[in-house]
Amino acid sequence: MVFSSLLFIFAFLAPQLLIYFLIKKQQTRNIVLLAFSLVFYAWGGPVYLILLLLEAFTSWLTARELSRTPYGKMKKAWLVLECTVMIGLIFVFKYTGFFAWNLQKIFGWPKVIPEIVLPIGISFYTFQLLSYVIDVYRGEVEAQPRFWKILLYASLFHQCIAGPIVRYKTVADEIDNREITAKDVSEGVRRFAVGLAKKAILANGCAQIADKLAPLTADGMSGIHGAGLWLGMFAYMLQIYLDFSAYSDMAIGMGRMVGFHYLENFDYPYTAGTVQDFWRRWHISLSTFFRDYVYIPLGGNRKGQGRTYLNLFIVWGLTGLWHGASWNYILWGLYYFIFLSIERLFLGEILKKNMITKIIGHIYTLLVVFFGWVLFRYTDSAMLFEVLKGLFGIGHSFASLEAGSVFMNNIFFLVLAVVGVFPLGKKLRTLLRRETWRSKQLVLFNTLNVIDAVVPAGLVILSVLALVGNSYNPFLYFQF
């Protein structure tokens, strides 16, 4: 089940919220959340529920043992066991095919590449459970004595299949003690509605433009043009942010409605002035996971320059691999390693010098990210090469009737999508509220209150219209 579906909104979320708020007792509410979460996960294939249960049980058991074991070899052994099981499972389900394919290319073995279906959300909940156990090992969080609460943490439908990767310590206290205020619910509703509209209206609309102008099929390659590719990839650049951040918005919103406060996962990444800044703002829960559980344990930047770059290389290779079992994702990760290394060596400082270099920095970052998305989008190297050539008008003409037509036909929509990518709306809202309050213009202030009250419901209605009339509703995270 995906958030941006009528089934989820009306047949799942609506009854879930109704039942949840009819119940007053916290523990019972948690049981309701768990039950709904398990149904939500099982909807995509009940078989994989076993995997989720197994991972949660292993992590719960390991963490419990870790909390009882004093520091020493035994404690490390428990941690190694957890990491082996978790990484082993993710490897089996996500990477077996990829490695078998590579082995076959190099050694001609195996003859048959196993086709293993990737369980939805495995990369998210596995990382969540790993972070929980490691945090228990480090003594940063208490082990949870009740298995079902760890299962609730891992399976909570808000973030189970598309993130953010919520740390246990973020919600540990709230699982047992959370208060729900009108402000929480109201903010949650607004955040969910904004996320839903971002996905159903903006991201899906951008996806249609992207798929039309930057096709993903070999057949479509024959008709590509430079201008079309630029516009198509621009639309993809908008789509991937709007889509991904929309899921995080919806997750954060739904969490807030029931009293959970998840951390932000995106912070307007396209406003970044450097590539490093971009990664501080993009999929923050994943970047911080790799920082805290890979980069720093490897020594971070404390073991000399050579080791620092090696650590960065490993982290960015893994970041790429996390996004999908294909060489293009690894290359995409390493592509960022190159730019991050260059910035670390000298460019980062130069770009911060003055206003002009800062502007150049923004342009440079957007271009790096743009070409990064080209790498990310095309898993087939021949198609990738063709698109890169096409972007520069090599082998394909640059002018495109179609691009001009699509642009003119969607010009207002694209402007709206660009506005959705930047914090303009958020800043304007804050500014207007603050200024009308300061200047005691209560009529205007309350007009803003009315708008605030009406907008979420309006956005949900508009999103539903978009979802009903549009069968084009891609879910980007199946590969994660």
């Binding site: 089940m1 579906s5 009528l6 089934l7 909104i9 009306f10 047949a11 609506a14 009854p15 919220l17 099982a42 909807w43 995509g44 294939g45 009940p46 078989v47 009108a182 619910v185 109201s186 509703v189 607004r190 509605a193 609309g205 039309k212 024959s222 008709g223 009737l401 179609e402 001009g404 037509s405 699509v406 642009f407 003119m408 036909n409 969607n410 010009i411 207002f412 929509f413 694209l414 005691k440 209560l442 202030f445 309350n446 209150n449 009315v450 605030d452 009250a453 009406v454 907008v455 979420p456 419901a457 949900v460 508009l462 539903v464 219209l465 978009a466 979802l467 009903v468 009339g469 549009n470």
Partner: protein
Amino acid sequence: MDNETVQKQKRLNLFFRTLGIMLFSLVLFVGFVLGCVLFPMRPEESVLENRKLTKFPKFTADSFLSGEYTSQVSTWFADTFPLRETMVKAEWGIQNKYGLRRDAINNVADGDDVPDIDELLSSIEEETPQEEPETVTETAETSSQEATEPTEPPTTEEPETVPESVDGEEMYRMNPQEAGAVNVKDLVGYCVYGFNRKAADEYAVHVGAMGEALKGKARVFELLIPNNSAILLDDATKAEWKLLDERKVIQYFTAMTYQQSKEVKYVNIYDILAEHSSEYLYFKTDHHWTQLGAYYAYVKYCEEAGLTPHELSEYTEVDSGPFLGSYYKTNGYAQLAENPDECIGYEPIATNDFTFYDRDQDKMRTGKLVRNMSEYDVAVKYQGFISGDTAYSEAHNPNLSDGSCCIVVKESFGNCFVPFLIDHYETLIVIDYRYNTNSLVELANRYNAPDIIFCNNLEAISDLYVMSQLGGICY
């Protein structure tokens, strides 16, 4: 600001927060009731998109465990959501405001090159097909054919249900309307045709085979309908969109057919359509031609077949009102709603009644050759011509008893062409080869010297699968 005002405003803030939550809850509640309670309101067909909507899936353990079942339930839930049509229309209205949406030049022609016709023709120079019929010994109108047996549908088994006087109303909702690449210019949709040489060659083989198989037993005519872009667009636009010269394409088709059989008579309708290009020959929002366009083709056919065509003024005009066709509803060019078509038909003189078998060929229904569709949805007006695409249709002219027969082998473009023919033949049979697999030769042999017309649009026959379907009735 004094404390009392601040406290009052805080209460107001809380009120507005609560209001927001209530409004959101109301939307969810209404959606819940619509989606989960009001099951009878769930539509089964989409008039707007002209398709049957997803059915609730059957439960099997395998499909459940694989997630297939739940995935299908999700699709069913969204696809049959109550008030779906209203919401889809509203969404199209919104999408129409996405930009300065007037023209939509999304395509340039993409397809095979047409082989050099001059070269091809010179290679068969001696055998160039003539536009005039060779020797018409007797016309259908003057033939003294024996009265045939009461006609039967071309099925080998009797249908379980005997011809039933059921109006084919529901058929108007089920026929697919599809168009390929489309551009929009000045609020008119145009087909961007791509030539498929393999399909063209296959077409020629099938039609040629019929010419040979029915040699001496029937006259076989070939009528190729150009796309609206070929007839209506100026040369500059054609060049900009890299459109092929469809006249050359038709020449290729006929030359290839002629290579297969000299018995097939080509009816050139391109020129007469081009002469009348300023008239309303093609719909603006749909890929079909209008019945006026089909009328000129009929005039040309009569010329070739030795018949005397009726004047347009002799027919009763049937105005079905505004029409928004496939370019609007399937290709999604919502801006075309600003320039809707008017669907005008011409009721045949001899009779307007006919019977037909639907695609399942299990039930005979009655219908009108040209029906007034003014009370039907704006999207389905073209289905007023012979009740849309059906497997087999048959009409009888009560004023003739000469045994004359015409069999039209067509795709949907033929629908508005065939009503004109009933005034010239005792029996008119229409075969849509996409839904009928019975032998054309066997059918033709049941009648005395029938006229057989292959009536097809170039775009419709540029698909290899469709050509394999044509082949299915030819052997």
